[in-house]
């Protein structure tokens, strides 16, 4: 997929995830909008995973540790053919498997997440098995920045470096906001680069909405042989909808009818512009 096609996909994914959040009346809007470009690049450029090979032991793995942004994952998986997009009409309804966090009931999902601070340790286990078996697959884990306050992440970081897991990549959706406000006001994370480096990881930072730059960075893994890689993806929470951007209240805000119309008009205009 070309960079231009990726840009179009990103906007289409935003349009769709807002549609299903609006229909369900619930969802993690801000975070889904901030991470969707990362998912777009992973699934359309990087990962060797498809509906046809999902049970193949040699497939790449994607683990969404920030499970609350599941709406972004759902629309990308539907687009990749893991299930019909119409399934998402049931999101959040009684007995629908499409719940507000990832579960293995859904084709394409590796691990149940939602409680924060779980995805990285799980991914370390998958990557370690790959190393021991000399399997060529890679493991990618998406972390929220607010999530990094969970101590279990730092336990997993130690283990990943100890076992020299250069088949493991963490991507931090660094939108600087969490449910209560700015990450630096809630429990400061900076300097994140220095912290990861001190834990033995190879670090790169990138604009998390520049699909070409993301594809370049994610295509050059491992950054250093013998070290796990981490991409600090600088993102904007609520990206793509003017009134949602950089507003913590859109963490799990659902737009009113009027706001929804405005959001879709903005995204449709952007889509026309990119296509032109």
């Amino acid at each position: 997929m070309t960079d231009a096609e990726l840009k179009i996909k990103s906007i289409q994914y935003r349009i769709r995830l807002l549609k299903y959040i609006k229909k369900a009346g619930a969802g993690h809007t801000g975070g889904s909008l901030s991470c969707v470009d990362i998912l777009n690049v992973l699934y359309n450029r990087i990962l060797t995973v498809s509906p046809g090979n999902f049970t193949d032991p040699a497939r790449d793995r994607y683990v969404q540790s920030k499970g609350h942004s599941v709406e972004a994952l759902y629309v990308v998986l539907a687009d990749k053919g893991f299930f019909p997009e119409s399934d998402l009409e049931t999101l959040g309804r009684r007995q629908s498997p499409y719940v507000g966090h990832p579960t293995r009931k859904i084709h394409g999902i590796e691990h149940n997440t939602g409680a924060l601070g779980h995805g990285l340790a799980f991914s370390v286990g998958v990557a370690l098995a790959g190393k021991r078996d000399h399997a060529g697959y890679r493991v990618y884990t998406l972390l929220g920045d607010g999530e990094l306050a969970e101590g279990s992440n730092w336990e997993a970081m130690l283990t990943a470096a100890h076992y020299r897991l250069d088949n493991l990549t963490a991507i931090v959706d660094r939108n600087q906001l969490q449910i209560s406000g700015r990450t630096e006001d809630v429990c400061g994370l900076e300097c994140l680069v220095t912290k990861f480096e001190a834990f033995g990881w190879a670090v790169r930072s990138v604009d998390g909405h520049d699909v070409a730059a993301l594809a370049d960075v994610l295509g050059s893994i491992p950054f250093e042989p013998g070290k796990p890689s981490v991409v600090i993806a600088k993102t904007v929470k609520g990206k793509g909808v003017s009134f949602m951007e950089n507003e913590a209240r859109w963490h799990h805000g659902v737009p009113s009818d009027q706001q929804y119309e405005q959001a879709q008009q903005e995204l449709e205009a952007l889509l026309r512009e990119v296509k032109a």
Binding site: P57, T103, R104, E110, H111, N112, T113, G114, A115, G117, H118, L120, A121, F122, S123, V124, G125, V126, A127, L128, A129, G130, R132, D133, G151, S152, E155, A156, L158, T159, H162
Partner: protein, 325 residues
Amino acid sequence: MSSQAGFELGKANLDVFAETLLALAKDDRNVLVVTSDSRGSGKLTPFAAALPDQIVEVGIAEQNLVGVAAGLASTGKIVYAVSPASFLTARSLEQIKNDVCYSDHPVKLIGISAGVSYGALGSTHHSIHDIAALRAIHNCTIIVPADNLETAEAIKASAEMSHPVFIRFGKRPMPHVHGPGTALEVGKALLVHEGNDVAFIAAGETVVHALLAARDMEKEGISARVISMHTIKPLDRQAVILAAEECRAIVTVEEHSCAGGLGEACAAVLMQAGLHVPFRIVGFPDEDTVTGSQLEIFAHYGISAQGLAHTAMTLLDSAEEARQL
């Protein structure tokens, strides 16, 4: 050990676990053990020496232990996560709930030095909450082996299980309560001693004390049934119901808090089956647990031949008095 006279003393269930696992792992390189600086206390030093590529050490980080084990298991590995039961089931409870049970990655959770095995070390090291906590989590078989035979059988059975399992045991040498060749079926209680006056439904390292009590009571003309309820979940409901139908009283015995363990599980079966039988739960009451050796703590709370016989006889006497009124 004088109270256990008459039974041949075996090894610690812990030693049997480590030997059984090593044998399994030598036959199958997909068998892995994950430790949290617990290879020594898990008697896994010989395993690490023999099969260095099949042990994963994560350091003193139990949350990580369980998360990493889940990841390994997701790739098809047969994974044993080994840590003292107190830390494994409390520090990493959310990892057990989500990464193992909810996600259905078939990790074998091995709680070593369980119950009050670390009796003198204080409540930080006691694990008398674990069964209650894990009973309330869907998709986790719970096995508490009584002796060496049950331990070896449970470990071998666990290797074949395609869903999560928690197995917990202690570190003191255990008398053999079963004869050689006894087969253990997960979810099916084992009858250790026949009897119809009172039934002891016991689990784990308390079973031998119930058996000793039954032998003492026999001399008084009271026949006591002893059931080893090695699998707490799924519970062998039929064995509990039969005990209620065929005996005049039931005493449950466990190395666990009286809250949420084997006793309450049996009580729930009986109440919901409409069976009313004189009933006592012997375990640890809701108090600051006394300290000392495992056997000293057992004796303090009536988990001894004398204590259990007394509980059973008193229960039978009071039931008889009530019947005559």
